[in-house]
Amino acid sequence: MSAVASTSRTRDLGLVAWQIRYEQRAYWRNRGRGVFTFVFPLMFLVIFASLDKGAHIHSLGGIPYDDFFVPGILAYGIIATTYVNMAISTAILRDQGVLKRMQGTPLPRWAYIAARIGSTVVIVLAMTAITLALGVAAYGVHIRASTLPGLITTLVLGTAAFTALGIGITRFIPNAEAAPVVVNLTILPLTFISSIWFPPIGMPKVLIDIAKLFPIQPLADGLQHAFNPLTTGAGFDGQDLRTLAIWAAAGVFLMLRFLRQPQGEAG
């Protein structure tokens, strides 16, 4: 009995791996939707970092501008490839009836979602690698071994939170045309007060406090903390990680609710 159970478990994990391959193939082939979510952050990185090349931020202890901006844009890149991409593509798959079709096959629903998450993780890894490679090679950013634990923890928690939120938010997106609007409305205003594009210098305290309630600021700040040359210790920012963990939990809760809702009952 347990042998049967474990064989089917192995088979299901094989199915997840199988599905990740096809999700990847579909993602990289779609220039309009897939690749642009990927290219956008990198484009911003090159533009902004080139504009302020060699500048320093005095209010942050005189650290190089790029040590602030590269991790900030990395946070934006993670959000674009997880939250934005996941929410929009899931809404489209739902509208087109792909989710319903998948539900009619023996592929367990959890395995399909797991594969979509797995595929997103592959994209996040590629995004992170390219951003950091550019940062190190072109903009003099250093990845320090001492803050690596904090960097990796922040990346993992941020990816988890925004991926789960991306799937979970689909419940609140009425149709695929509304998806970009809902997604941008929930993300874009916050990025301006969340240390993504510029340091929060001279910003009213109330805006900073608001930003700290949402997950974008903690992700950007956590990564910036790990890249800050003045940081001592392992690069963990307790408050950032706590907020991210709470949002990750909320995201997983929403995602599980989405998972339980059968596609057929909608119509």
Binding site: L15, R29, N30, L93, T105, P106, P262, E265
Partner: protein, 322 residues
């Protein structure tokens, strides 16, 4: 194999007093029928009759609110993997991952099933060989529909649900799809078909059920549905202007009419009637144009069945208002 043998005599689908309500609205109001192995069973009915709800309960997309249902001996509750392994579903409107090619999609979906047909075999079956490396996005409507059929067949299902399978097909492609579906039944597969095309039901179905207002109002072989085989036949032809209705010999008939130059003879004895009329025409050297003898079509019967119920509904509604 032994398992299949014991199941041969069991109905593939068994529905008893099936009900589904959405709040106050009763979409399905006590439906019962059985479908046997190797049969093409067709569910007809106007939009809103409860067809889709019934089918989606059997497909495991919706839960029923009452009655019994068994599909391949299994309760079709949502998420029944054992059932999904043996059932193919071709939905009316459901997309695919548009950036993948025909061959990739068939390969990808095939892997979900523990028993599956080879990719090339499926591609050839639905005649998409030339499009095997085309992305789904770039297929025409008819080609997409054939891809849908391919994805329904790739798991080598015992039972195939087909919802409007040939919408958007040209006549040749439709004939081809019909022969594909027929060939499945020869292999012992069962097909549950919903369609709006009466010729499709006529051509494919062993049995037809007509649904209206959440209930089955007629069920039977397409030739016999609604007493179709017992209806009088219609003999039609055109009469040259020199002749009138009174010149035609008496034949046993229920009525005969002349509209313009077109004659209609409604008769329960079409063979002697046709014989007498044609003999008369030959004797007098009259050219009867467009001569035909026909039974009412499935469409005639269907429209009659669904319209009478519709009128009854209006009557009850009016009575309720009073």
């Amino acid at each position: 194999m032994a398992m299949n043998d014991t199941q041969t005599n069991e109905p593939v689908i068994e529905v008893r007093d099936l009900r589904k309500s959405y709040g106050e609205v009763d979409a399905v109001r006590g439906v019962s029928f059985e479908v046997s192995r190797g049969e093409v069973f067709c569910l007809l009915g106007p939009n809103g009759a409860g067809k889709t709800t019934t089918v989606e309960i059997l497909e495991g997309y919706r839960t029923r609110t009452g009655g019994e249902a068994r599909v391949l001996g299994i309760d079709p509750a949502p998420g029944q993997r054992e059932l999904r392994e043996r059932v193919g579903i071709v939905l009316q409107q459901s997309g695919v991952q548009n950036d993948l090619t025909v061959a990739e999609l068939i390969e990808m979906y095939g892997r979900y099933y523990s028993r599956r047909r080879p990719v090339n075999e499926v591609i050839e079956l639905v005649e998409l060989s030339e499009k095997r490396n085309t992305r789904a996005r770039d297929l025409s409507g008819g080609q997409r529909r054939r891809l849908d059929l391919a994805l329904g067949l790739v798991g080598d299902p015992d039972l195939l649900f087909l919802d409007e399978p040939t919408t958007g097909f040209d006549p040749g492609a439709r004939r081809q799809a019909w022969s594909t579906i027929r060939s499945l039944c020869d292999l012992g597969k069962t097909v549950f078909l919903t369609t709006h095309y009466m010729d499709e039901a006529q051509h494919l179905a062993n049995r037809v059920a007509v649904m209206n207002a959440g209930q089955i109002i007629a069920i039977g072989r397409p030739e016999e549905l609604g007493g179709r085989d017992l209806r009088p036949a219609e003999v039609r032809f055109t009469l040259p202007a020199a002749w009138s209705l009174g010149d035609i010999p008496d034949v046993p008939c229920e009525r005969r009419t002349l509209e313009g130059d077109r004659v209609l003879v409604v008769t329960r004895e079409p063979v002697p009637a046709a014989q007498r009329i044609t003999t008369w025409a030959l004797e007098h050297d009259i050219d009867l144009g467009h001569f035909s003898v026909s039974q009412p079509t499935l469409e005639d019967i269907y429209l009659e069945l669904t319209s009478s119920v519709r009128e009854n509904d209006h009557t009850t509604a009016r009575e309720a208002v009073r």
